[in-house]
Symmetry: C2
Subunit: 249 residues, 2 copies
């Protein structure tokens, strides 16, 4: 499969994200700024490393389609998936600070990204203060999600963690239009789930199977089916707060 940049370039007026209810739409002025600010578009195959740990990226990205994961690794090979990246999310903002990335990013599905130049980020803040502000807003969202994950890893049992991650992914998928009925098409291996939740592979497997037998939650290789989302969120003791539409750039 091809994982290199493609010439195709969605005009910002037709940005697929504009339609999403959970995302805030842009003014025409903002749209036309973004149009010229946008450097290009990139499509990558599943399993492509989009950003690599320790490198300094010359680009900043916005996800147009697809799901990706952010992760950190230790020298001895241990890996922690720190968060998942959905359409509308900003990627690699650390690069804009000219600092080496402290995490890697890998695509979990085919994905297409909107490409911006690291060096022009300040220009965005200068010309479009509101969009600059929105960038901070997005960062605040990311922080809130990470806080939530920390709560999960620090305080929840294995069962609760699995229920938590399932609800989290499902809700994010729902907000970005990726769910159909009770299912979210996402393919995570159990190893990836384990590396997200800080559990061993074996125990993750057992926990997922217990859910499957209960019928509450069926998490297979290609999709996540949640029969009763409220039930699962209760079980996880997860209080999802639905907020106002999030901005994006």
């Amino acid at each position: 499969m091809d994982s290199r940049s493609k010439p195709h370039r969605t005009p910002c007026k037709e940005c697929p994200l504009q339609g999403l209810e959970s995302l805030r739409s842009m003014t025409t002025d903002q749209l036309s700024f973004m149009q010229q600010f946008k450097q290009g578009e990139m499509s990558v195959a599943k399993a492509t490393q989009v950003l690599v740990e320790m490198s300094i990226s010359p680009h900043v990205y916005t996800v147009l389609a697809g799901i990706l994961m952010r992760f950190k690794t230790m020298e001895d090979g241990r890996r922690q998936i720190v968060n998942y990246v959905f359409p509308g999310d900003l990627l690699g903002i650390q690069g804009a600070m000219q600092e080496p990335l402290t995490h890697g990013v890998e695509a979990l599905t085919e994905a297409t990204l909107c490409v911006f130049s690291r060096d022009r980020m300040l220009e965005l803040f200068r010309e479009q203060p509101q969009l600059g502000f929105d960038t901070t807003w997005l960062s605040a969202k990311e922080e809130a999600a990470l806080d939530e994950h920390l709560l999960a890893l620090g305080q929840r049992t294995a069962r609760e963690r699995v229920a938590y991650l399932a609800s989290f992914l499902f809700m994010r998928g729902k907000d970005t239009g990726l769910t159909r009925g009770h299912t979210l098409k996402i393919s995570l291996t159990q190893t990836q789930i384990a590396d997200t939740l800080g559990l061993s592979l074996v125990h993750t497997n057992r926990t997922i199977q217990a859910f499957r037998r209960s019928g509450l939650l069926v998490w297979s290789q290609n999709e996540l089916m949640i029969a009763d989302i409220d039930g699962v969120m209760d079980l996880a003791k997860y209080e999802h707060m639905s907020f106002r539409p999030r901005p994006f750039i």
Copy 2:
């Protein structure tokens, strides 16, 4: 002790943070903007709740002095301390998005905060794009720290976690001028340490004592002494990256 706002108001030109090596200093233009942007100053006693979970804060703060903690709680009482807040850090930026706070903040020491108005944040981005950009930079830093904590909770053993937290706090303290020689004056109860690391109180106690006996690390009620910071960081498998001076507002 008094924990209410006080009239005292440090002029920005004499901001104690300007002197820190690890923080970037401001231009005189930026300083004078901040001077009028600053709404006031607040001094709080140890153990004061500065921001409360679920509330919508009308203020955003920068820490001038002191150490605070950010935490989340679950309905059944479980608590996770998600990060520590040092001088130069921004607090409550979620408030600027007019959204309810997803975490609380409590002072661990006497602390003094610089107060800004939530509603004027956009003005900051408009008039001082660089400072707006810096705000995003700060958020990116916070994200990186949270990623690091997730790695600790998800992948490290109890021993490694304690060593990690000790190094993390010590380095942050060092960067903000709070260490003297091998010690950092900070008073954390073992319960707080446990709630940071996702360990039980008893096991935290055992682990800390083991370190104390080894002499590598003495963590008492009022201070943290690290005999050999490199040794402790090795033990934690923690690779601290020292970056360029961080900005602040």
